[in-house]
Symmetry: C2
């Protein structure tokens, strides 16, 4: 059934029903002019991010479920990057009216699974028609006791990342070869895995985690190191550009070691097949949604050590031990033709 046949009001009614579960602090949820929540003496975190068809996603490559899931993860990642917990979610969705209602249902299934994963609540939003392509945005409101800014890194701090880098960018490169959505969220009996792996010459065990990191990233909860991290950012545009930002804000320099950058065995295999340097994907591929943070030297940290904060230079040490200055390289909107 097309959206034009069911209309906005009926669609809203379905969404309201589907997300009716309330936390005790939600006074008014979806369905009034604004949501009402009751908070006691809290530091609040507020973040918003959008995803635009043709720029952030291509409906030929991603399923609506994955799109819904990813939209939430991307926003929750910003709350985590401040050291906080996500509480509430508001959504804006602009979609063409000839879109099948199944598309919206799947998208909201992805949203629902993500908000369950992150223990947060959908409390409002806006649905709109569009003639121009799909646009989505989410706002997440979270809470924090002690927030961790980008600006807190101190000389002598060590630098850490929460997981392997480059998988997401590599997953995107694979998708450009596959050229169709891969429904990882479903039982793969609905999808011809064999044909896919045969065509690519890579096993499903290699492909699956790379695609998953790109299509359905899980944001990293910083609770293990939130009490002592001095600065933090999530890696959305690529390690080097986001590290650059952290250094700018903290007014410090940095030395990182190529050999310390965590790279998965799947990435190495797939990058070889694709003819792309794995380290290039790890340094500037982007959309990793891993946390990059600094902590005092003395601490035992449950994350991957990749370098240290120095006074002013920004250096990358190669495998031979040679230091090279680096510049911010990563994704920037509006740049180029």
């Amino acid at each position: 059934m097309k959206l034009s046949q069911i209309g906005e009001l009926l669609l809203l009614e379905q969404i309201k029903k589907s997300f009716k579960k309330k936390s005790r602090n939600i006074v008014v949820g979806i369905g009034d002019d604004a949501a009402v929540v009751k908070l006691k003496d809290k530091k609040l975190l507020l973040t918003t991010d959008m995803m635009v068809e043709g720029v952030h996603f291509d409906l030929d490559f991603i399923t609506p479920y994955q799109l819904g899931f990813k939209l939430i993860s991307v926003n929750v990642s910003d709350i985590y990057a401040m050291g906080g917990k996500p509480f509430y979610l508001l959504l804006n969705i602009a979609v063409k009216k000839d879109m099948d209602t199944k598309f919206i249902t799947s998208l909201f299934d992805g949203v629902k699974d993500a908000i369950r994963l992150y223990d947060t609540f959908l409390i409002g939003g806006d649905l709109s028609d569009t003639n121009i392509g799909m646009a989505l945005s989410a706002t997440v409101i979270g809470g924090v006791k002690r927030h961790i800014p980008r600006s807190g890194a101190k000389i002598g701090d060590k630098i850490y990342v929460t997981g392997k880098l480059g998988d997401s960018a590599c997953g995107l490169e694979l998708l450009k070869k596959i050229r169709r959505p891969v429904p990882l969220e479903k039982n793969c009996s609905t999808f011809n895995v064999q044909r896919l792996t045969k065509n690519l010459g890579l096993s499903w065990n290699v492909i699956e985690p790379l695609l998953r990191r790109h299509l359905m990233p899980e944001a990293r909860d910083p609770k293990k190191f939130v009490t002592y991290a001095t600065s933090m950012i999530d890696i959305s545009d690529g390690l080097l550009i986001d590290l650059w930002r952290l250094c700018d804000e903290s007014k410090v320099g940095v030395r990182i070691y190529i050999e310390k950058i965590p790279v998965s065995s799947e990435l190495k295999k797939a990058a070889l097949y694709l003819g792309i340097s794995p380290i290039k994907l790890a340094l500037s591929g982007g959309e990793d949604y891993e946390l990059l943070f600094t902590a005092p030297d003395r601490k035992k940290v449950e994350a991957v050590y990749i370098g240290e904060i120095i006074k002013s230079e920004r250096l990358i040490v190669d495998s031979s031990g040679k230091e090279n200055a680096f510049t911010a390289t990563g994704y920037q909107h509006f740049r180029g033709k």
Copy 2:
């Protein structure tokens, strides 16, 4: 200069500078992963609304300044409709990279004037490229002592609106004739008013307020009646459809009087010229951004009385005193071909 020449980072830097004024409760504003605000024991209001090119606006009809101003007003109106005050604003803007940077500057000028008017603060957002047309969304976070839901209307309550209805819809009809942006925000020496009024056969005094209500609506602060209103909604989709929603949520009926509906003399003149019924514009034109609320009978209310809450029927009384049942008529997304 094109956006593609200055890039996202420089643009962000300019916006950060331009909105650096902080209230004492903003711990971290624009520029980190999320904003941090400190609130003491408050009931918070949260709302979000989007505007999509080709659906909500047409760049041939509206200036970027007006677009920025209207985006904020539309969202603040939802906070006011709950009886609250707006505190913070987050923005999402997706714009084509070949757009002139002047466009963005003007848009943010409109945002700035609106947030000054409503005494609120821009604390974060997201800028994105788009290949498909422009999309904007805003999230406003407000506070409230006693929120006024749609669901509180009681039988015997009187119904009020805060101002004249239909002007905005009439302004849109005029714009469809004018077929170009009218820079109301500027000294009109930059714009040939005389030619415009001559072509339309209507005086500038008639045209200007109608265009203004459509292009730069000011949201209505409910502070005068916020202590005793029993239910409230803002009129965005049209009086009848929004009244219908209020009745649905309150599980009551309604009787309104056509002769009580406030209509401006400008609307009457312009509607005559356009050959549209002024009352039709007032009842279902939409985008009024006036507040519609109910209050107990005994109160002296500083707003326009238009009817009363009854048990279950939904009636409109015409000038001859005849009662007719009405149905919700107004704008609904996705409806129709």
